[in-house]
């Protein structure tokens, strides 16, 4: 035992106390792991190789280096502050340090504090006054899991000191370590991301795994093939060092861009013989370099990453499509695709077949159509855009008047689809007139003020169309940053008088089926065949008036308008009153039109809506420059808006997806780039990747919203499922960043989501009494690759992690597949395990 003394007089002496339980196959009283760690085999116990005053045995007990006189167990600092004594030392993880005390030397020492060793400077504080006498610090070992291997040894080797069966091996740690010490090393090499591109700089990764031993050694590599090192690719080092206990290493392979048409070139990487290891069955691998001068095709992974942003998730056939024409042309082609509408699908279902929903459809049945189009629509880009818009221009059926109106909900969604490639001004108008919005934000049936009875126009829609759908609360610069006044304060975009004035504009609107020549149809429209659902699908119309209405109090007919006839001032623009002497035709419609023009032409709309869409599609924290470029396109300028029309959605889409910040491979290395994918969309992406289907051809995937805290068109409020400025506690907040989607990734959904994935992967996505309606994944294309693990993992990498699986995850997948527990397991089990691990990983959950 090495003890360090201190006290009124600082004392030091050595005691000897044999540590039991260390790995010592050679029986020399020194830990074999320590000997391996410092390459210190054959040292005499009582020697002092570095002449630092500590014997080799003491250095072994302290876990320090016997060849380095600066590495040993000693007090590095000792000082008193008032009545407190502090002592410092350098610890080692896995060691335990006891602070011991005795009043009079010669009596028994007692432990007064214990410290876990850390890989850092450590300090003890002692209250002198209450503990007069002598102190010493003693280093010792623990074997927490009582497996015969010291904690320090386990930590050095990468084992779990708290579990006798680290990594859940059936063999205990001592047996595994002793077997490894007498076994040699076998080394294998694998590649992931086997095609890299000259003009897209994301590297491929070579993975080298060691099996057998635990010692340190060096692996030799050679690089051959048609590509020239240092010219076509950056030459990695020719050797790879393995530390003790290290089981894997990986090296990035990056292409170098040039202007030469060279065709595809290959890099062949081989393990070369060397000291301390044998080469396993996987002795070489290769990577291809795609040459943009001779072949414009983008790589699979570049296409997969783009599809992760622009659709609900990549599929094998979409990846092929994008590769065939390139990203820009694929987007243009999407603009021409037929709209994958939802409402007609819902109307076509047989309700009684779908679980006897007499009088249906019910709210949840909207998901049938939604899933159908999420899986099969010819316009996946439009579907993705409409979903993003549904999280900005929010309606919801979770409570209030839209519960039970799935036809109307999907009619609204189809309206979003239609305008996704149109113009934001028309979208804003269609939203304003949609009866579902009229119900959700309660401007349907809104009447002008009547101060005599203390009635005022409903302000709900007037507020939210400005705060959430167009301009936001604060004046913005084109790059999305807030404008500041002379005192450095943000400047509000509107005040409450704008709200009350705009509320007066949205008066006189009601059901589109009504007859506007009849005053009472404003409240009770005639509904043919009692098809009340239809009222939620016809755009609202305006009761211009005046109407002759019976007044109970006056006991006579009075003339009433349902739309406010006076002037309104909105955002500094005066909207004219209707002159009773010379009334304007369709004054109410025109009044709303003029108000929508004022809102739409506010300079905030581009940066406000542009930033929200970037957040939904590409990255949570776009740079100011990226927002400014998207704003420019919205405002009618820049390279992506050839028409020059303000609010053109196609231009906005081009500007978002073709921007360097969305496309450049460099962004993969930016720790602040990317976003957590939405809980529900992670599930949809999984279904798309493996072509989930049922025998009936339908997707009755209901009642999974609890698992995800999310379901399309069912947010808890008009503020969507999460807020654009949400900051999870920790590094994201500390860095001043936002991560909206983390608002619904809690300790609850953090578990229910992987559990939903697990049951879906092992069994099925939904539960239905009718087996024809059960939706299952189709893993057959993956199982077909079972004998080619490289191709199999690459396939999953492209579908689930957008081509950017980290080498650490690749390593742990290979490690799992090679474990004895996987011998004899079914192909399906292996595939299911891989998919579960990848789909629940941060590589799949985060789109970089």
């Amino acid at each position: 035992m090495k003890a360090l003394y201190t006290g009124i007089l600082i004392a030091a002496s050595l005691l000897s106390w044999k540590v039991h339980g260390q790995v010592d196959q050679n029986g020399n009283q020194l830990s074999d792991v320590w000997e391996m760690r410092y390459q210190a085999s054959g040292l005499p116990v009582d020697g002092d190789a570095d002449g630092d005053g500590m014997t080799n045995e003491e250095e072994a007990e302290a876990g320090t280096n016997p060849f380095d006189p600066r590495s040993n167990f000693r007090l590095t600092n000792l000082q008193t502050v008032g009545q407190m004594l502090s002592l410092d030392w350098v610890g080692a993880p896995g060691k335990i340090y006891h602070l011991e005390h005795v009043s009079t030397l010669g009596e028994a020492w007692s432990v007064i504090a214990t410290y876990d060793g850390e890989d850092a400077a450590q300090q003890a504080l002692i209250d002198f006054s209450s503990n007069p006498g002598f102190f010493r610090l003693v280093v010792t070992d623990l074997d927490t899991d009582e497996d015969g291997v010291l904690d320090w040894e386990e930590i050095e080797l990468g084992f779990d000191p708290e579990n006798a069966n680290s990594q859940r091996f059936s063999q205990d740690d001592q047996m595994r370590i002793e077997a490894a010490l007498s076994s040699g090393n076998t080394v294998n090499i694998y590649a992931l991301q086997v095609d890299i591109a000259e003009n897209w700089s994301a590297p491929g990764y070579i993975l080298i795994q060691r099996r057998g031993g635990l010692d340190a050694f060096t692996v030799n590599l050679s690089f051959n093939g048609s590509a020239t090192a240092g010219v076509d690719y950056a030459l990695p080092g020719g050797t790879v060092e393995f530390g003790i206990g290290q089981l894997a290493a990986w090296i990035p392979i990056s292409a170098l861009d040039d202007a030469l048409p060279e065709g595809v070139e290959t890099i062949d990487i081989a393990l070369d013989a060397g000291a301390g290891y044998l080469i396993g069955t996987r002795a070489s691998t290769s990577v291809s370099i795609i040459d943009d001068e001779s072949d414009p095709t983008i790589t699979t992974r570049e296409a997969a990453r783009f599809l992760g942003q622009a659709t609900f998730g990549p599929t094998p056939s979409l990846i092929t499509d994008v590769q065939a024409v390139g990203i820009e042309a694929w987007i243009e082609d999407q603009f021409t695709q037929t709209v994958g509408q939802h409402q007609p699908l819902l109307m076509g279902y047989d309700w009684e077949l779908l679980g006897g929903a007499i009088g249906g459809p019910y709210s949840h049945h909207k998901m049938l159509a939604w899933w159908h189009q999420a899986m099969e629509a010819p316009d996946p880009l439009r579907q993705r855009m409409a979903f993003a818009l549904s999280e900005i221009l929010v309606i919801s059926d979770t409570n209030g008047g839209l519960d039970g109106n799935p036809v109307g909900m999907l009619n609204y969604y189809d309206m979003l689809l239609e305008h996704s490639f149109g113009n934001y001004r028309e979208l804003l108008e269609a939203v304003t007139y949609h009866p579902c919005m009229g119900v959700y934000l309660s401007h349907r049936g809104n009447l002008p003020a009547d101060p005599a009875i203390n009635r005022f126009p409903d302000e709900n829609y007037a507020r939210e169309i400005m705060q959430l759908f167009s301009i936001g609360l604060w004046m913005l610069n084109d790059d999305g940053t807030r404008q500041l006044d002379e005192f450095g304060q943000p400047i509000p975009t509107y005040d409450n008088s704008d709200i009350t004035n705009l509320a007066s504009v949205f008066t006189g609107m009601s059901w589109g089926q009504g007859d506007t020549s009849v005053w009472w149809e404003f409240y009770w429209p005639t509904v043919e065949n009692d098809e009340y659902w239809r009222t939620y699908t016809v755009p609202m119309i305006l009761w211009e008036g005046p109407y002759s209405v019976w007044d109970n109090e006056l006991n006579q007919h009075v003339e009433q308008y349902y739309h406010e006839q006076g002037a309104k001032t909105v955002l500094g623009v005066e909207l004219p009153a209707n002159d009773p002497e010379n009334p304007e035709d369709n004054y109410a419609v025109n009044d709303i039109d003029r108000a929508l023009d004022v809102i739409f032409n506010h300079p905030n709309v581009g940066p406000f809506i542009g930033r929200l869409l970037i957040q939904r599609l590409v990255t949570s924290n776009p740079s100011n420059a990226y927002v400014a470029r998207v704003t420019e396109a919205f405002n009618g300028g820049g390279p992506h808006n050839p028409s020059g029309v303000r609010g053109d959605m196609q231009s906005l889409i081009r500007a978002i997806f073709l921007d360097e910040e969305a496309r450049d491979a460099d962004m993969l290395d930016d720790p602040e780039h990317g976003m957590l994918r939405e809980n529900y969309l992670r599930y949809v992406a999984l279904a798309r990747a493996f072509n989930a289907s049922s025998n009936s051809g339908e997707y009755p995937i209901f009642w999974v919203n609890d698992a995800f805290s999310q379901q399309p068109l069912s947010s808890p409020s008009v503020f969507n499922f999460f807020q654009p400025d949400y900051q999870p506690l920790g590094e994201i907040r500390d860095s001043g960043l936002v991560a909206p989607e983390f608002q619904i990734l809690t300790a609850v959904t953090g578990i229910t989501i992987p559990n939903q994935f697990n049951s879906s992967i092992l069994y099925q996505l939904n539960w239905s009494e009718n087996d024809d309606d059960v939706v299952r994944f189709d893993f057959s294309p993956v199982v077909a690759l079972i004998n080619d693990q490289d191709a199999l993992i690459e396939y999953l990498n492209n579908l689930l992690t957008f081509g950017n699986m980290t080498p650490e995850l690749h390593d742990s997948l290979r490690f799992m597949l090679n474990r004895p527990e996987f011998d004899g397991q079914s192909d399906e089990f292996m595939v299911q395990s891989l998919i579960y691990l990848i789909a629940t990983s941060a590589d799949a959950a985060v789109l970089r």
Binding site: P457, D669, E731, I751, F815, A845
Partner: protein, 463 residues
């Protein structure tokens, strides 16, 4: 159990441990400080000392001038005049027996008879016309912009945030429950589970600078299926899950994601062990709010097993944005509150924690007194209830305002300027919970604009 133990020593340690969160290098120092303080701490906070705050958030902006209504004829007529088609019938109100007269009679919504009973029994109080303020504000100051006003008045998102932060001049999302926990979490013997537990997902109130919130569902915490299966290939798969969660990512989103899964799993193992087998005899209503409060009650019953002496809980009941159909919607929703709160109080009596647990309500804002035609719009001050054995119940705190149109608090349409700030309201609760009066402005930075911390609380509500 009333009164505030002196916490200066513990608070010092609390701050030390705050600094140490996420910094293993400081761990030994922390350990040592804790050891040195053990003797003192035990005399200050006996193991039996327990307190919990439960925030019931009524999301959407409850029309709380229909929760608490003037029942005397003159005042009722003023109320009925301004509320027009939104007025509740006078005869349907449940009249309260107010201990210290406020010069007017009040009743509660017809669907809140249980709350009336709790009030009359002295276990519930109302705080009236309370809302977000930076400093005391009059109508002319408001109109002439002579005071600092809350950012984004009348906006849901902003006011939800400010009711939870109590800092209306800032958009920062650190809640006063979180700041309280930053000060007091070291009173607990468990660092692995947050003292801030939400049964309603992420919220601002429980976000601290150092304190995370722990989310559970109405059935408690969840484990990862298949993770511990020990047959066939599952041990290898389970080990791979561990490796997958332990990958050290550079990307902050990936890193945060991986950590959140690991944290959820670790917390579950501890939480489920502590709460396993706890069943209460009290019957809760079969509503979502009832289920949330039942889970809170079960967790409180497990506080000793969890090593907790201070806990906060967040539950939520949404759907109060009644721009339409106020009367009909409230007729179904007010009883949900009343029955669930009554069941919760009964459960606290069952486990004899009724004097250690205080439930309070909050909401985005009050609503306009005037109607938009069967509905009301976003406004400002509103009325809130506080329930628990430690409350000086059967009383009304703050000033119940006159409700006639264009009264001196009315900024238009019956949007009333609050006469009691959220700081005064929450200051009462924070002091009772154990924040010392000298630390109160760390939790509620604006509180000294309304109240000089001292022996008495701002409202006298908690004794």
């Amino acid at each position: 159990m009333k009164g505030n133990p002196s916490l200066s020593r513990r608070q010092f340690i609390g701050q030390a441990s705050c600094a140490a969160v996420g910094s293993t290098a400081l761990f030994s120092t922390l350990l040592n400080l804790r050891m040195a303080s053990t003797a003192a701490a035990q005399t200050v906070t006996p193991a039996s000392d327990y307190r919990a705050l439960v925030c019931l958030f009524l999301a959407g902006g409850a029309d709380s001038y229909n929760f608490l209504v003037p029942s005397g004829t003159d005042e009722y007529n003023e109320y009925a005049g301004v509320r027009a088609d939104l007025a509740l019938p006078q005869a349907d109100l449940h009249t309260l027996n107010i201990a210290n007269s406020i010069g007017k009679d009040l009743g509660v919504h017809p669907g809140m008879s249980e709350l009336r009973d709790l009030f009359n029994a002295g276990n519930l109080a109302w705080v009236t016309n309370v809302g977000t303020l930076i400093e005391p504000t009059t109508l002319s100051q408001y109109q002439n912009e002579l005071v600092n006003l809350p950012l984004g008045l009348y906006s849901h998102a902003d006011q939800i945030k400010q009711w939870q932060t109590s800092v209306p001049q800032s958009g920062e999302a650190i809640g006063w429950g979180g700041r309280t926990a930053d000060l007091l979490h070291s009173l607990n013997d468990n660092d692995r589970i947050s003292m801030n537990i939400s049964v309603a997902g992420s919220n601002v109130w429980q976000n601290g600078n150092q304190t995370f919130q722990y989310s559970i569902g109405t059935d408690g915490s969840q484990g990862l299926s298949g993770y511990d299966w020990d047959w066939g290939g599952y041990p290898a798969r389970g080990a791979a899950i561990d490796s997958q969660m332990d990958i050290e990512y550079q990307n902050l989103f990936q890193k945060t994601f991986a950590q959140s899964t690991r944290n959820a799993l670790d917390a579950h193992e501890e939480f489920s062990a502590a709460t396993q087998g706890i069943e209460l005899a009290t019957v809760f209503p079969e509503t979502n709010l009832g289920s949330q409060l039942r889970m809170v009650a079960q967790t409180i019953a497990a506080h000793a097993a969890l090593g907790m002496r201070r806990q906060t809980f967040f539950v939520q009941f949404g759907g109060w944005d009644h721009h339409d159909e106020v009367l009909g919607n409230m007729a179904t929703m007010a009883p949900v509150i009343s029955q669930a709160v009554a069941a919760f109080y009964a459960a606290m009596e069952e486990i004899n924690e009724q004097n250690n647990v205080t439930l309070f309500t909050a909401s985005d804002f009050g609503r306009t007194l005037t109607s938009n035609g069967e509905g009301s719009d976003h406004a400002w001050g509103g009325n809130h209830l506080v329930c628990g054995g430690a409350v000086n119940g059967a009383n009304i705190y703050g000033t119940y305002p006159d409700l006639y149109a264009d009264n001196p608090l009315d900024t238009g349409r019956g949007r009333l300027i609050p006469t009691t700030s959220v700081d005064e309201y929450f200051g009462e609760l924070a002091l009772w919970f154990g924040v010392s009066s000298s630390d109160l402005s760390m939790v509620l930075p604006n509180v000294t604009n309304f109240y000089t911390p001292g022996a008495m609380g701002p409202l006298g509500m908690m004794g």
